[in-house]
Amino acid sequence: MAVKCREVMELHELYLDRALEAGARISLEAHLSGCSSCQKQLEELGTLDARLERAVAPVGDPTFAAEVMHRIRIDHTPAAQPLRRTFSMRSLISHAGIAAAAAVLAIALWPKQGDTEGPIVRWASGNATAAGQLLRRDASFLPGQTLEVAPGGRLAWTDARGTVQQLAPFAGDAARARLESEGVTRLDRGLLTVSAVDPIEIRSPLGSARLEGGTVASLRREDDRGLMMDVHEGRATLEGSDRRLELRAGESGRVVADGPERVLPPEPIDLAPWEAKVDELEAENRKLHERGKGLEQEVLSLTAQLTEALTNNQQLGERLLQIESTVTEAQVQALMDDFETSAQVGMLYPLVAEAIQLAPRFREMGSRGIDLLSEVISTSDSSEQRLLAVLILRRIETPAVIPPLQAALQIKDEAGNMARQIAAAGLSIIDAEAMSSVLRSRFEAENEDIGVRINSAIGLARMGDRPAIDFLVDMYRDESADPRDREGALQALLVANRPEAAPLFREIATDEKVEIGVRAAAFSFLGDVRDQQSLELVQKVADDPAVPAEIRKVAQRAYNRITGTDFYR
């Protein structure tokens, strides 16, 4: 069958219901009118339709409808009530064999209100009987009849004055009671709740209770375990074999075979202190919450400060590097200045310039470049070439230049002590423990050129070598020494940047006889040392208007560096 045919057949029931939309209907009709296969199928299925319709199966129980109606009459309760099959009732009616039996029974149990005397049933569920006869809502019963309510059921009635009594099973047993006369109920077993309009008496084999008008109370009677009463509203008296109890609203009492016992209501709980405690805790909670918010702010601010400090620290590091290189350049400059007056100055100046230019290229060449320079030092005849090689090596600043510079420490030629001084300076700025013995041999050689000794002392001083530092400090303090050597020592101490030299620099910094540039360099040094004394000095000078502006500015920068702040801008 084509897909179209199958679709048509499957939608045909909707078509019969006239439930197809116009488009689908027209399309289906068009197809049907032209499709003999579909027509044939519909014809065949049509005969089935008729057979199916006739195949409705009857319930097969002639009393079915009557029984349903009977159930409706007796079970006229809200939908939430569970519905149970009344097998006994059903079989009774079935055996009777006539629907009329159900109708007769139903009418018998359905008295019209007002036609009868005695209490009226307001509620009946489950199996509740009066003198063995089933009770339903709106029915009535007579005083003297025994009422029974099976487990799961409940029976409530009102008397002529409006007092409501409700009987329910208790502790799994059927409840049993009897109305002795108007205003007197006998409770044999079960739970009886009474809402009294007029005074009423409840009797039981173990004792009795009298309820005043307007009292609401519940009474429980379980075999020989006594009679228990809870008074919810009003007043009542519970009387046992030897004693009587006056009970008020909220009180409970029990009469047992041995005598009455009074059960007092529990002590009322004073909530006030607890409420105060709750208020207190809530206030504390609010405070903590506020504090939490404050702490959060504090943490945020600290984080910001920390970030700033880290940034400052980085800037400081960069600045220190800058200063160091400046100082190194300054040293070269000093060297050049030294030799400006010397005969060799004409030779050194252009060589330094050339070395500064060539050094990066040799550095890039790595070990090959250093080998080349070593070769120049050991083989060249030209003192000028050798000096240039040393100047370049000194600027490469890697441990690889140690052997050639060490070799250069031996050079003695027309250029005098120049190559050796530069080699010593170069070795001094390389961070290598191995350097110390080489430098020490030069530094301690009494007959060595003073410039070579000073330059060797730089490296030793950098490593914290006390004799080297002291040598440089003494050299500077020695006013009889060559001013160039004194200045060289000072430069060396600046490069070494050791805190041991701080006392000297504090002296220099405050010594008005010392020229301004040197004092400024001293303050810069103290800014790196960062001890308490230096800080105090720097702070004092930074704020002292009497101190020359150039010095004050350096002191202010030093203060900023020590404190890690931007206090002075």
């Binding site: 219901d17 319709e53 195949a55 519905l83």
Partner: protein
């Protein structure tokens, strides 16, 4: 003839009875019981395939419908609403019995569910022609069988069946058609054998 034309006065008459019941005339509800008991029973039997269970659920359905009558929305057909209650109760019963069968050994009582019994309502067991129809129906998948019984025993439209079963009318139309095709085949086989 369409399904809805089969009971032309049904809807209006049912609505009138329902409103009379709600205004205090409980006894008139008996008319609705008598009117729908066989069709409801047929549908329930087709689901439960057990006479006692079908009868019990049938009774429960009428009682529940009575107690919930104030909730009935008269824009829908009373029969659809009634059958929906019945079908739901049956499905719940089947589920519960299947669960019981799984968890207890009391298989005798529930073995008849799902094909243990002949699947023919007791009242039809001597009526050869109708019995054949039920035998054929017995072999249908449950969703086809339920749709077919509602369509033919109650004459519900696809839309009404869809409401009761909680599916779309298209699905109902398809299920009815496929159910009929299967029925046709079973009945042919039966004729050949017979």
């Amino acid at each position: 003839m369409t399904a809805q034309q089969k009971h032309p006065e049904t809807a209006a008459e049912d609505a009138r009875i329902v409103s009379q019941v709600l205004t205090g005339d409980r006894e008139i509800y008996g008319r609705l019981v008598e009117k729908y008991q066989d069709r409801l029973y047929s549908i329930l039997f087709s689901i439960l395939r057990n006479h006692d269970l079908a009868l019990e659920i049938c009774q429960d359905t009428f009682l529940r419908a009575f107690n919930a009558l104030h909730l009935y929305d008269s824009t829908y057909k009373f029969s659809s609403w009634l059958f929906r209650i019945g079908v739901n109760l049956s499905f719940n019963k089947v589920k519960r019995l299947k669960l019981e069968r799984k968890t207890t050994d009391r298989s005798v009582e529930v073995a008849r569910l799902g094909g243990g019994e002949s699947g023919i309502p007791p009242a039809l067991q001597t009526e050869e022609t109708k019995k054949v129809i039920w035998e054929a129906m017995e072999q249908l998948p449950e969703n086809y069988r339920t749709a077919l019984t509602m369509r033919y025993f109650e004459g519900l439209s696809c839309k009404d069946i869809a409401e009761v079963l909680g599916v779309t009318p298209n699905v109902v139309s398809i299920n009815i058609h496929r159910g009929k095709k299967l029925m046709q085949r079973y009945l042919k086989d039966y004729a050949i054998k017979g």
